[in-house]
């Protein structure tokens, strides 16, 4: 195993190369661009024996890998923000067809106004389609998660597409050391794809996606539902297996940070989780019993893990980088549903449009939350607050 300094984007490209992908198609969009440029370079230099299809839109990018995956190939695409939204109908087509496509989503705000910086609105807006959605929090994890995505998605118990999300710029354009496994070991760990659930070939007279009784549509969605349930176990299994094989620490659906004796729990996902953990560390020194649960996967939602963690503390703080307008933060909504009112939950919306959030910000948010709880100001109702310190008297 050698250590190489890579950006998030190049780390993902490196994982795609090691996964020995057959067909890649993509349309450039900042901040995803470097992934697809790097892969194009690998293909043209012969470092990756794959077909690279330069399409005219993201809709077509996902359509190309859809066709290739339906014909048995292992495929990859990547996008961001508006590109992901432009793919929207194809996302559903892919999920219901049960094709294990892997896509990197370099998260970025949705306009207007134009904004290329990261929040999680793009990735979380498509959460209902039937894709497994992971969130990396380091460059190395973006690499690991991409490789794991193929193992998880292609597993016969799952057969679902997988989205690997990494924060625009904070991960995509930031260089960090990555412990790279040997290529031969990866090939062994990730053998070529079995062409499941079907393979389109001349002479095999069957069709995919025919009109049919309404019950068939509902049943197919139920199959996706069940596959998603099974995916939880498969993700846990694959994470442990990968960690053992490639010498990583084992986190499956949730990474826990100082949760053992915590009385207050902070829940969030993505690159900024590191800052939140740093803040929790500082608060620990000041005597605040704070722990952090970082969601590695948003779909399937780690309900079991979170229920257990949340019900063993006094109160939970969810810090969201995406909002469901008219309701609450996206992760908060899921968490509240999971804990069923058994625990006090506070929700903070922060960092939209890439607004910078450092350890000090997290510290002040978490401290305020604990003090609020201890003064009795938080009751069992939960509410949502927007963290915008630059706005006076909000």
């Amino acid at each position: 195993m050698k250590v190489k300094v890579l950006m998030g984007n190049t780390a993902v490209a490196e994982a795609v190369r090691m996964a020995d992908v057959d067909v890649v198609s993509a349309y450039p969009i900042t901040p995803q661009t470097i992934i697809v440029e790097r892969i194009a370079d690998m293909v043209e230099r012969g470092e990756l024996k794959a077909r690279y299809v330069r399409v005219e839109s993201e809709h077509s990018a996902l359509a190309v890998v859809y066709g290739a995956s339906a014909s048995g190939a292992r495929v990859f695409t990547a996008t961001s923000s508006h590109g992901l939204l432009y793919m929207y109908e194809m996302l559903w087509w892919v999920a219901n067809s049960r094709l294990p496509i892997v896509m990197a989503v370099v998260t970025r705000a949705i306009g207007p106004p134009w904004n290329i910086h990261s929040d999680h609105q793009d990735a979380l807006t498509v959460r209902d389609a039937g894709w497994i959605i992971g969130f990396a929090s380091s460059v190395e994890e973006a690499f690991d998660m991409t490789l794991q995505a193929y193992r998880v998605g292609e597993d016969r118990r799952v057969l679902l597409p997988v989205m690997v999300s990494l924060d625009g710029f904070t991960l995509s354009h930031t260089s960090e050391p990555v412990r790279l496994p040997e290529e031969s070991e990866v090939r062994e760990w990730l053998p070529p794809r079995e062409p499941l659930p079907f393979k389109l070939e001349p002479g095999s007279y069957f069709s995919v996606g025919n009109l049919g009784p309404d019950e068939v549509t509902m049943e197919l969605r139920w199959y996706v539902w069940r596959a998603m349930e099974r995916a939880k176990h498969v993700i846990r299994e694959v994470s442990v297996d990968y960690a053992r094989r490639f010498d990583r620490s084992t986190h499956s659906l949730v990474e826990e940070f100082k949760t053992g004796d915590a009385r207050y729990l902070v829940v969030l996902a993505g690159a900024w989780s590191g800052d939140a953990m740093e803040a929790a560390d500082m608060l620990r020194d000041e005597g605040y019993p704070v722990g952090v649960a970082r969601l590695r996967y948003i779909r399937p939602f780690p309900a079991e893990e979170l229920r257990e963690l949340a019900t063993s503390v006094r109160a939970v703080l969810v810090i969201d980088r995406a909002v469901s307008m008219g309701h609450m933060g996206v992760i908060a909504g899921d968490l509240v549903a999971t804990t069923r009112g058994k625990v006090v939950v506070k929700n903070i919306i922060a960092g939209l449009g890439g607004v910078d959030m450092g350890p000090e910000d997290f510290k002040s948010i978490i401290k305020g939350f604990v003090e609020e709880y201890e003064s009795g100001a938080l009751d069992s109702w939960f509410y949502t607050e927007w963290y915008m310190p630059w706005v006076r008297g909000r």
Partner: protein, 306 residues
């Protein structure tokens, strides 16, 4: 069909009792397609009439390996299928997009253009019934000027039709042709030739639709033939530098040999409201189109490699 090499082929393409309307032109085209390349084709079908014709699960209306895909995605999905087949070494396979006019000329045009630009090794057949028939006869980019549709119900369509074959030709692809379901042997020859060429191929297939154009369902072929015989639809073929008017249309280079346009028009309820002036204007547009096609033929003839 009276072509010996076709008669001996066993692949059917169309299965009996499929859900197409009576007199449906797509069934004719799909039958020819099945006969010619059914044993080595994969069909990619965007939303449209053929989404229905392909059969109600668990039954099948067509004898092809078939992938149903979203409206605007067909040529891209086909590119992906092609890429996977190439990686898997399946050079024998031919990937066919069977699309309507909407899927090719309108909502899927950017996708088609992208695939043509990449010179993807796929065959796109645009079975053009000149409106969005499956959703109930709404005007499309290829609906002819003045035709009544449910979104141009009183005055008729106000815009000129879009020429998807010429637009594709300008992408500098190796093969583009027009065809008609009224001339199945011409269509069969074109599919056969196209299937032997590597690169992007498009056949723009004229497919008169009985319920959409409001004519009797036993007159599909008659109407299709009249379109050619009146000069309203021109059959031509571009094959790697050679541009030629196809045999069924050859006599009508000479305007005096064309049947009167009214013979074509009077059969169609969608054109029943036309005034004499409208018909003269349509005639003028047909002449203009012939001029363009004849000039193109001349142009390519003078540029053929020696």
């Amino acid at each position: 069909m009276s072509i010996p090499w076709l008669a001996s082929r066993r692949t059917r393409g169309v299965l009996p009792g499929n859900p197409a309307c009576s007199g449906c032109p797509h069934n004719i085209g799909l039958k020819v397609l099945g006969r010619v390349v059914g044993d080595r084709a994969i069909l990619v079908v965007p939303a449209g009439c053929t989404s229905i014709i392909a059969g109600y699960w668990p039954r099948e209306g067509l004898e092809f390996p078939l992938l149903h895909v979203p409206f605007a995605s067909a040529a891209a999905v086909a590119s992906g299928v092609r890429a996977a087949l190439d990686v898997g070494g399946r050079d024998d396979a031919i990937v066919v997009v069977w699309s309507g006019d909407g899927g090719a000329a309108d909502i899927g045009f950017a996708t088609l253009s992208g695939a043509a630009t990449r010179n993807e090794d796929i065959l796109v057949i645009v079975s053009d019934n000149e409106a969005y028939m499956n959703t109930g006869v709404q005007a499309s980019g290829t609906t002819m000027w003045k035709a009544l549709t449910t979104t141009s119900p009183v005055l008729g369509k106000t815009e000129e039709r879009k020429d998807i074959a010429l637009l594709t030709l300008m992408h500098k692809v190796p093969y583009v042709a027009t065809a008609s379901i009224g001339y199945p042997s011409d269509l069969a020859e074109k599919i056969r030739r196209a299937s032997e060429i590597k690169g992007f191929k498009l056949i723009h297939l004229h497919s008169p639709c009985p319920p959409g154009w409001r004519f009797d369902s036993d007159k599909t072929v008659l109407v299709a033939k009249l379109a050619v015989e009146t000069g309203a639809w021109i059959l031509w073929e571009y094959d790697r530098g050679n541009f030629k008017i196809s045999p069924p249309s050859t006599p009508y280079r000479d305007k005096s040999r064309r049947k009167p346009l009214t013979e074509y028009i009077k059969l169609q309820g969608r054109l029943a409201h036309l005034t004499e002036e409208d018909i003269r204007e349509i005639e003028r547009r047909i002449d203009e189109n012939w001029n363009l096609i004849l000039r193109l033929e001349e142009y390519y003839a003078s540029h053929v490699k020696a």
